[in-house]
């Protein structure tokens, strides 16, 4: 049966209006009209026409055709092309899952796995004659050929009788369920490397040799003989080892032994993670007593108040987003949500963040290597994935950024974060502790397993090239996951399970391999896991990354109740094994053992990498700075810079206030269109204690020194926390490294320098966090952000994202960036040092400057504490931290938020600093703010800040503009309209699909 549903008049459909305007601007102005119909197809015999109409259509707004075609009606009479887009077999189609459920509800009958329910979307397009290239562009715009199939019928073909199908053929090819034995015993080193590449294991020769050594061990051979396993590895064992040892999961580079050279200086670093990241937190643990669980669970956990804990995790989803931006980002966001659900005894997600980094939107399409998508396409898809992933899950996107940088044209960086809350105690036990014991049941729940996402973990540990496996791509289904979340929260509060973890990269192999460490072993029966379709090999079941699944540990005493509640909540749960203390991961398929791996070897048998890093500081010539008569143009260019400019039309498509906790929103001010420094949320209804959520990222500084990049990144996140009114003593951070491959090789001759940049970033991170007292509670790294396509290598700038979650003691004392009242005084806090190297000004002026912004953390911390005291004493009206674009941009933003105006005089700054006007206006010295103070609080404020650098630089004036003077010279004079126009000019916001 084919069911077409469409609005009774296509002009009332907002979607088709939007589609038309996108087609006109992005494909061709020749397109004249567009209309959309939703198509459902099924071979289920017991569905009557009447029932189908009732299920699929809204009879007030829509019309339905059964086994007939809207293309043959006067819906859009003079169309020229009909495109029908459907998913390829095996790709998750959440709408089809709902349609299946709806048919079951209506008919009261259960559909078996073989019964097909499919969806498609039909586009009717009316256009003037299109060139073949335009037609291809149109087809490309309407679908992603990686996951979808497009069928095109033109008017002539239609008139000749061409029609769309009643059902789409095709199913996923069945794999043999036989387990293969892989011979490695006799293989040479070269053959081992070849095997690793052929099987997409992404293992190095050292690692392959370690595996060979494991199978040669006598004790292991004895165990294998006893279990009737071959002495050579089985395919499932190799796959499990490769997944567990992938860079994505084991962070081999951050754990490598590094010989670091900086001129004469040499040192050996045993592990960057242990000596820099973890050490930072360990040193701070004595004073930061609110830390609960750091670095070992699915997210970092801290105490929020007496009754509650909060947790935070940020993941990257770069490789999948490069290939399928929509699928990549939606699985990124729902995936990190699961990290929160899998934390401790199960936390509830309360906010999402996303920092999205793309190539420049103005990139010449011809310069994009074959096989890669244009940054605009990537942005559009990623944005859409975040919208669906966040909105449908009911988790507000509270903070984030869109960053544009030419180095991200190869791989976009998609950072997805989620924060959660959990009661401190559940049935009297600490909620951050999982207690998994021998004999407990292994339950997998949520979605079913298909071949989607196989090799995701190993694939993301490789550079992108033409051969990148498309099977690594998946689509998320937020609604299935929402049911899982609701069910688990209910089960948690009834004390029905002990803990769990998410099935993300590496699937069951990763989740169960980790949980097994708690009890000391596990037995998994792979045939007990429910499949989407027949024909998955046991190893595919183990490493599939099919979404929306959790692995949960349930004791024998509660298993019945757990499964009963799961059924009642329409969530599929299956017992697929038992936790043991055997010291082994035992893999069974249809009661036969197909794999057996020692836990110790699996988790600790990975040979350590030994690497060399050589730091050679780049030197740039001095640049003579010319005085200008006016800086209006420079300021407007900065306001329109793709990274700085307003993304409001994009951000407002995210739900940022569901859960009703939003206090400082993404946009603030008189017209709610000026930028906030970060978010403030109030997670507990009965308390005014709140959370701040901020970010720091300064990837351009890496061109000069990744140390400053990291230090300034930490400072940016922390000073935004301070600017929002956050408590300087309680802020925790997450570090997410996204690096180009830092291992020297033929394809990466500059690996030693890139590794030195990583070392320096870790030094900057540690030094700054220790000074500020900011523990690192969780983090992640992605080390292969390069693309090798058509002989052209594109590597990302070394990027460290700092995501900060802090405490604000009283949200009613939180601050925003918009100037509030005419006549109030404006101050700048913090010394200005004039560094322009790596800054936004450097980017827009296309001139390389030699000096990278330098952090003085001691001075900064002193200032932050004083400012916080002034804020909590309620003698400050407005705070805005100085970030991208420096003082002038910050002033323009605060003025825009006020819709009043301001008059500034920088002559005191010029006198104090001996800097040029241009440096004062646009340099990015960290640790600075502008603040607004009422005249009656002037004395108190200046007393509070005594000892730190501050200067009164102007007044809020009802002049509807921003005027900046240097004594008698007017150097900036821009009207409110000019500020608004420049800041809202960014074209990328108008082109999201």
């Amino acid at each position: 049966m084919r069911i077409e549903v469409f609005y009774k008049n296509h002009n009332i459909d907002g979607r088709s209006k939007r589609l038309l305007s996108s087609l006109k601007t992005l494909v061709s102005p020749k397109v004249e009209d567009a209309a959309i119909a939703d198509v459902y197809l099924t071979d289920f015999k017991d569905l009557t026409d009447k029932a189908a109409i009732s299920i699929f259509s809204d009879n007030v707004a829509q019309r339905t055709l059964i086994n007939d075609f809207v293309a043959g009606t006067n819906f859009l009479e003079d169309w020229n092309f009909a495109f029908e887009i459907t998913y390829k077999p095996g790709v998750t189609d959440p709408v089809a899952l709902t349609a299946r459920k709806a048919i079951e509800l209506e008919t009261g009958k259960k559909l078996d796995r073989e019964t097909r329910v499919q969806t498609a979307r039909l586009f009717l397009i009316k256009t003037k004659i299109l060139s073949p290239a335009e037609l291809t562009a149109l087809n490309k715009f309407l679908h992603n050929e990686l996951i979808q199939v497009s069928t095109i019928i033109n008017k002539k073909e239609w008139q000749d009788g061409a029609r769309f199908p009643m059902i789409y053929d095709g199913k996923v090819a069945e794999s043999s369920t036989e387990v293969q034995e892989i011979e490695i015993k006799e293989l040479s080193d070269g053959d081992l490397v070849r095997l690793s590449k052929e099987m997409l294991l992404a293992l190095t020769i050292d690692e392959m040799l370690a595996i060979k050594g494991y199978y040669a061990r006598e004790d292991i051979q004895a165990v294998r003989a006893k279990n009737n396993l071959p002495l050579e590895p089985t395919d499932i064992e190799l796959e499990m080892i490769a997944q567990t040892w992938s860079e994505h999961c084991k962070h081999k580079i951050l754990n490598a032994t590094i010989n670091y050279h900086d001129g004469e200086h040499q040192e050996t670093i045993k592990s960057l993670f242990k000596e820099y990241v973890k050490q930072t937190t360990d040193e701070l643990a004595a004073t930061r007593t609110y830390l609960r669980s750091v670095f070992h669970d699915d997210s970092g956990v801290i105490q929020f108040d007496e009754e509650n804990l909060v947790c935070f995790k940020v993941e990257t989803h770069n490789s999948p987003s490069a290939l399928d931006p929509y699928g990549g980002s939606i699985t990124g966001i729902v995936g990190v949500n699961r990290d929160i659900i899998g934390t401790g005894r199960g936390a509830r997600p309360i906010f999402n963040t996303n920092v999205l980094c793309f190539g420049d939107p103005d990139t010449d399409p011809d310069s994009i290597p074959k096989g890669l998508l244009h940054p605009k396409q990537v942005m559009s898809g990623v944005h859409h994935g975040i919208i669906d992933g966040g909105n449908q899950s009911g988790i507000p996107v509270v903070a984030g950024a869109f960053i544009f940088d030419d180095s991200y044209v190869g791989k976009p960086l998609v950072f997805c974060g989620t924060g959660g809350i959990i009661p401190a105690k559940i049935h009297g036990k600490d909620a951050w502790v999982k207690t998994i014991e021998k004999g407990d049941n292994v339950v997998m729940l949520g979605g079913r397993i298909g071949k989607d996402g196989i090799h995701g973990a190993t694939f993301s540990s490789l550079a992108l090239d033409e051969t990148s496996p498309t099977s690594a791509v998946q689509i998320g289904d937020p609604i299935t996951q929402k049911k899982v979340l609701d069910f688990l929260m209910e089960a948690r509060d009834k004390n029905l399970y002990k803990g769990g973890t998410d099935n993300g990269a590496g699937g069951l192999s990763s989740s169960l391999g980790e949980l097994a460490e708690d009890s000391g072993g596990i037995k998994i029966e792979l045939d007990k896991a429910p499949l989407k379709y027949a024909g998955l090999a046991p190893w595919q079941i183990l490493v599939s990354e099919s979404q929306e699944r959790m692995s949960i540990c349930v004791g024998d005493d509660t298993i019945e109740e757990f499964l009963a509640l799961s059924k009642k909540r329409d969530v599929e749960s299956n017992v697929i094994g038992k936790f043991t203390d055997s010291g082994f991961v035992e893999l069974f398929y249809e009661e036969k053992m197909v794999g057996n791996l020692e836990l110790e070897f699996l988790h600790k048998g990975l040979p350590e990498m030994k690497l060399k890093a050589v730091w050679d500081a780049p030197i740039r010539p001095e640049v003579k700075i010319e005085e200008k008569t006016s800086y209006n143009e420079d300021l407007c260019a900065l306001l329109s810079d793709s990274t700085i400019a307003s993304k409001e039309p994009l951000v407002r498509q995210y739900d940022h206030e569901v859960q009703a906790q939003s206090i400082v929103k993404p946009f603030v001010g008189e017209k709610a269109d000026a930028p906030a420094d970060g978010a403030v949320v109030k997670p507990v209804p009965t308390s005014n204690r709140g959370l701040t959520v901020t970010h720091g990222l300064a990837q351009r500084y890496s061109d000069l020194d990744a140390y400053s990049m990291a230090a300034c990144g930490v400072d940016e996140a922390f000073r935004a926390h301070i600017a929002l009114g956050g408590n300087p003593e309680i802020a925790s951070a997450l570090d997410n490294f996204c690096w180009p491959d830092p291992v020297k090789s033929e394809t990466t001759p500059d690996g030693e320098y890139k590794l030195a940049q990583l070392v320096r970033a870790c030094k900057g991170l540690k030094d700054t966090c220790l000074k500020y007292g900011i523990p690192l509670i969780s983090g992640k790294d992605s080390m292969k952000n390069d693309a090798n396509l058509a002989g052209k290598k594109v590597s990302v700038r070394p990027t460290l994202l700092i995501s900060l979650m802090g405490i604000i003691d009283d949200v009613t004392k939180s601050m925003t960036t918009d100037f509030k009242k005419e006549g109030n005084l404006i101050y700048i806090l913090g010394k200005t040092n004039g560094e322009l190297g790596g800054t936004s000004y450097e980017k827009v002026s296309n001139t390389l400057y030699p000096n990278v912004p330098q952090l003085n953390a001691d001075e900064a911390l002193d200032l932050y504490k004083k400012l916080n005291k002034a804020i909590t004493s309620e003698i400050v009206e407005t705070t805005h931290d100085l970030a991208d674009g420096g003082l002038a941009v910050a002033l323009a933003e605060s003025v825009l938020g006020s819709r009043i105006g301001a008059t500034i005089d920088i002559s005191q700054l010029t006198a104090d600093s001996q800097l040029q006007e241009l440096e004062i206006l646009f340099c990015e010295t960290p640790s600075r703010f502008i603040v607004e103070v009422a005249p009656q609080n002037k004395v108190a404020f200046e007393q509070a800040l005594a000892g730190s650098y501050f200067a009164e630089i102007g007044k809020i004036a009802k002049n509807d503009k921003l005027v900046i003077n240097n004594a008698s010279k007017v150097i900036v004079d821009v009207t409110m309209n000019e500020i608004e126009k420049a800041w809202k000019k960014f074209e990328g916001t108008k082109e999201s699909k």
Binding site: L19, V95, I479, V658, V668
Partner: protein, 250 residues
């Protein structure tokens, strides 16, 4: 007396926790109830005075906003809800909850037979929109939820909020009987008659697209940092509901 509110959850409803909080702040004893528990035991609804259909993305809005949830509810609980209304009890549906009430024909239900007469479709922009809007309450409406209220600032967060009527007859009926209880001051989505919320002929059922349950602290307001105003527009609707029950039930 204890006013008891039943907040429906399940299958992608996601604004149920804050709706429960809002009713508690308004003085009710509010409880989240999974729709499957209600289907298993429909009489459970009798224990409540207020039914709250919260916002969210039930069944992902995949086949149309609120459509599948409305089928599920109507198929299993129509008689129970008819009794609930006949008993003089009250209902509020917000955003996805409003879409559910409309699609199962509970709003506006001018003929009393649960025929769908109006709809909520894709916004004119074709986009999901999160923004604050000003709404005005219809002073001639008999809706018990909006009595005594003049206007409010509330957030909207929807992609399918454009209100349309099936025909001119029902449109006139809505106008003449003042069923349009809440209208936008500045139409954000292309709704007919600027309608943000409607009531039924009894005035005891209200559905609206804006989210009063997301304005439950003064600081939720996007301009609070400028005004420092202590007003909380959202809570007033819920207080009206709770007070109505207190006045009419013992």
């Amino acid at each position: 007396m204890t006013v008891k509110a039943c907040i429906l959850t399940g299958y992608g409803i996601n604004a149920d926790i804050e709706l429960t909080t809002a009713f508690k702040m308004a003085g009710a004893e509010a409880q989240r109830v999974h729709i499957n528990d209600l289907i298993e035991n429909p009489a459970l609804l009798d224990e409540f005075h207020i039914a709250g259909f919260a916002g969210g993305f039930s069944f992902g809005d995949h086949l149309g906003s609120g459509l599948v949830y409305s089928h599920l509810f109507k198929k299993n609980l129509k008689a129970q809800l008819d009794k609930f209304v006949a008993d003089g009890k009250i209902i509020i549906g917000i955003c996805n909850g409003f879409q559910v009430l409309v699609k199962m024909g509970v709003l506006p239900n001018t003929k009393g037979d649960w025929t769908q007469e109006v709809s909520l479709i894709h916004n004119d922009s074709g986009l999901f929109q999160d923004q604050w809007v000003k709404v005005k309450y219809n002073q001639n409406s008999n809706c018990i939820w909006t009595q005594g209220l003049a206007e409010a600032d509330l957030p909207i967060r929807h992609g399918e909020g454009k209100f349309i009527t099936d025909n001119d007859e029902i449109k006139s009926y809505i106008v003449e009987n003042n069923l349009g209880a809440i209208v936008y001051d500045g139409n954000p989505n292309g709704s007919e008659l600027d309608i943000a919320g409607i009531t039924d002929t009894t005035g005891r059922i209200l559905g609206l697209m804006p989210h009063p349950e997301a304005f439950i602290y003064p600081q939720n307001h996007p301009k609070w940092h400028r005004t420092k105003s202590d007003k909380i527009d959202g809570i007033k609707l819920f207080e009206n509901g709770v007070n109505y029950i207190k006045a009419n039930f013992k």
